[in-house]
Symmetry: C2
Subunit: 160 residues, 2 copies
């Protein structure tokens, strides 16, 4: 009895099915994957591309750096996603009047049209997943996710 702590330590097991990082990772990949498949099939958008469009749809004229901050992507990823979105004429950019380093990004009409189709689709699929929870449970989950995100933010610093 007295050695139970030491014994527990030596015999420690880790059950992946109960381990938070593993559970989060599997769930996240399943949810993101299912939604990504929908917009990838229809519009050939990758996840980074869609994230850039999502943020520009809500707030146009952002600098690439601001897009990176809001999407938790790094600037290389943003640069590449913007590059391919521009080649597809879904995003356009203009020089900033005041600061020559900055290029301001916005959806083109073509990009906006896609955004307007993808948003309801994404929200619908989110809703299908969340239909496993009652309205009350959704609120709980929302709150708990928020607490954990804040905690992770405090501890981690880094994102990705």
């Amino acid at each position: 009895m007295r050695n139970s702590a030491a014994a527990a330590k030596r015999e420690a097991r880790l059950d992946l099915d109960r381990f938070l990082p593993y559970r989060l990772s599997v769930l996240s990949n399943r949810v993101s994957g299912a939604i990504a498949k929908a917009y990838s099939d229809r519009f050939g958008l990758s996840i980074p591309e869609w994230r850039v469009m999502a943020v520009l749809g809500g707030t146009p004229s952002l600098a690439a750096r601001e897009v990176a901050e809001r999407t938790a992507m790094d600037k290389v990823q943003v640069s590449r996603a913007v590059d391919s979105l521009m080649r597809a004429r879904r995003v356009a950019r203009t020089a900033d009047a005041a600061d020559g380093r900055i290029l301001r990004l916005s959806l083109t009409p073509k990009g906006r049209a896609i955004y307007d189709e993808v948003v309801p689709l994404a929200l619908h699929l989110e809703d299908v997943f969340l239909s496993a929870l009652s309205p009350d449970e959704r609120r709980q989950f929302d709150a708990l996710l928020g607490k954990l995100a804040r905690q992770a933010h405090l501890l981690g610093g880094e994102t990705k």
Copy 2:
């Protein structure tokens, strides 16, 4: 007023900060990243390598395919992780007596020693994250995560 549904559709916005897949992805990456950094720094283990070791620590003599199933990894990933773990003498394998295609995997003593160090470390870090929640909230979160995982499983089929 009467057109509000159509209007809502046309004007649909997506706020990434409230969008489930995005929130899960950021949280998952932060949590996994922080824990992965710990065992990567100390033992040079990648996430796939650690997952393979984690499952073999709890259940030895698994075939690679079984490891893949339990870790939600694909067989290529498992094959490569096993390859590097074997080169580091952390995992060994033996031919299956009954089926010549199968190679049964287990931790070596060296691998076991690492497992015995990483498990308490991983559990400790998990606990640090979860310390943002009360015991009651943890139980809630556990249950809600379970419901969503089942839902995702039903809908998705695929994992990763």
